[in-house]
Amino acid sequence: MTLATARGEKYLADFKALKEARPAPDWLEELRQRGWDHFNSVGFPTERRGNELFKYTNLTPLDRGTFEFQIGQRVAVSPETLRERAPWSDDWTTLVFIDGWYSEGLSRPAADAGVTALNFADAEDRQPLREHLARYATVDESAFMALNTAFLADGAYVRIPDDVQSKTPIHLLFVTTPGGSRATYPRTLVVAGTNSRSSVIESYISLGDEACFTAPVAEYVLEPGAGIDHLRVLVENEQTFHIGTTRVYQSNDSTFSSISFATGPRIGRNDLHTLLDAPGAECTLHGLYLTTNRQQIDNHVSTTHAKPHGTSHQFYKGVLSGNSRAVFSGRVLVEKDAQKSVADQRDLNLILSHGAEIDTKPSLEIYADDVKCSHGATAGHGDPAALFYMRSRGIDEATAQAMLVRGFAAEIADEIGVEALREYVQRVIEDTIPLLLAEAD
């Protein structure tokens, strides 16, 4: 299938406009072109039959091509607005991208000595970009990775030097503004040096109510012994299509601990894969999703154990209400060489309405013979005994329900180590609970 259609023309026109307005070095031009070529050959995966990855997700609106890609930041955003609406702390290192473009004025450069955190364009040494970009999120893996790569321009580049224990969280904040249906392709590359430690926050927020299309790609590279605390916050508006991809490459004895929080968008997809490509690598992939109305949150979480002594923990929790839907597709692949692997997967759901639906599918694919793996999923309508217990103490039903939802969510939310971010997420949960309960039955 090619995009030689009226709707395909829109993306092609955008691609050409970018090429013209923001010419890039040969290697990057070539990379963009490869991205475009692949996207052009496969198109959006709108056909759901026989399409395992997007079986539950209707992407037809993307195909209509009504989203506007713009070149350069056009809408001003005040620091006060960000403080009010986004996760924020003046103590963090923050890179802000407005409608896909780096905002120097709103950003706060790296505070820790030796740590690099800047826009791609500002990197003095572009060799690491050339070396790593699109190496883990390859253009031919999916239409969205290809499309994002075709529009590679600004992006967040973070490098933690070897042996540096960075105390300052690094926040990569991607914002869309009101006044249009934005198409943005946020891009992130984080390289964590040998035995380094860092916390990296990616957040995606909308300031307007318009339907946007956000297709981020983030690549994380962990060198031997590196540790990253990764926090992903998706709180875009209820009209938005968010199709996010995260690819993590782990060397020996590295630790990637991720917490993904999502609520809000029309469709929010978190496609997260970790490759444990050397002995002793460990990843902890946790997540929390809250869905109301007609929202859909889709967590596609997978780990490949390629070498021995790897450990992976997947644990996601969801609260669903209204006619919303969530997908948890957890996959662990243990390859033949990956002896002594330990893997567990869990997805727990609290379903508050009969109109809500969870499609949960943890799966293990094991080719090694000496491994310890477990998986499980539950979906329940809440415990009537717990509710009666609370009510029998004088707590009214609505308050009791709110306490139960809050308690259910807290197991993940309380794990967020960065205090200001944890408080932000807790506030969003508080604001979401009344919406969840209003659509409960």
Binding site: A385, A386, S392, R393, G394, R406
Partner: protein, 253 residues
């Protein structure tokens, strides 16, 4: 204080089988009543129906608390009026800590009484004192309520709630079952300390042993959904000795 008249009740979803078949009971302020009966006689059903558990349906009869018909009230409305149930099997409440839970419960009562919520500081002091008094491991209250608690720990938590919420009518549903002697003593002390002219207790139990520590004003024998005999403390001793068998004919007739 509590007047139950000809109460008939069944479990939702269990067909037409009635569990309570015309139960009548009057408890005045200041009194301690014990209801004893074999398994399946309807003891727990009575305790749960009094608090309005949604799994049960009342077919006929009345329940008045302070002269007010409570059968149409939600469980929380009954609780706010001063009723309390110490559960036989307290539910686990994931993600909710005992402190948080009790603060919410106490503030709801205070709000109903037109009082301000208790300050965090005052409540914490009250809570810590009572945790100590009831003999609860302070590490335990950092966990989710009842989650991973042993049977005895759950019962102690029920007593903690009783002591903090200070209800006017406390119903203890087999609080004594599965307890060792120390825990039993704590339950008994809790009841005895709280005994007062304006408070009443209804102790639902299979065995007589709690009544060694708490002297009831009246003992009722519940067989097959009906009270078949009412007497003083000596009735409990009699049942302990000769069992419930003697009532089999009464129930059949």
């Amino acid at each position: 204080m509590l007047q139950v008249t000809d109460l008939h009740a069944s479990v939702i979803g269990a067909g037409d089988t009635e569990i309570l078949k015309g139960l009548s009971l009057t408890i005045e302020a200041g009194e301690v009543h014990a209801i004893m009966g074999p398994n399946g006689s309807g003891k727990s059903t009575l305790a749960n129906v009094l608090l309005g558990r949604p799994d049960y349906v009342v077919n006929s009869g009345t329940v008045e608390f302070d002269g007010e018909n409570i059968l149409q009230m939600f469980p929380e409305q009954r609780a706010l009026r001063g009723m309390f149930l110490a559960f036989q099997y307290p539910a686990e409440v994931p993600g909710v800590r005992p402190w948080q839970f009790l603060k919410a419960a106490l503030d709801a009562r205070r709000n109903f009484a037109g009082e301000e919520p208790m300050s965090v500081r005052d409540f914490t002091k009250l809570f810590d004192d009572k945790v100590k008094a009831v003999g609860i491991d302070p590490d335990l209250v950092k966990r989710s309520l009842n989650e991973g608690f042993s049977g005895g720990e759950k019962k102690r938590h029920e007593m903690l709630q009783l002591e903090i919420l200070e209800p006017r009518l406390a119903i203890l549903d087999e609080t004594d079952s599965g307890l060792d002697v120390d825990a039993l003593r704590i339950v008994a002390e809790g009841v005895n300390n709280l005994r007062s002219p304006d408070r009443a207790f209804l102790i639902v139990t299979h065995y007589q042993r709690l009544l060694n520590y708490v002297e009831p004003d009246a003992v009722h024998i519940l067989i097959d959904g009906k009270i078949v005999e009412t007497g003083g403390p000596e009735l409990a001793l009699k049942v302990e000795k000769s069992g419930y068998e003697q009532y089999a004919t009464a129930a059949a007739g």
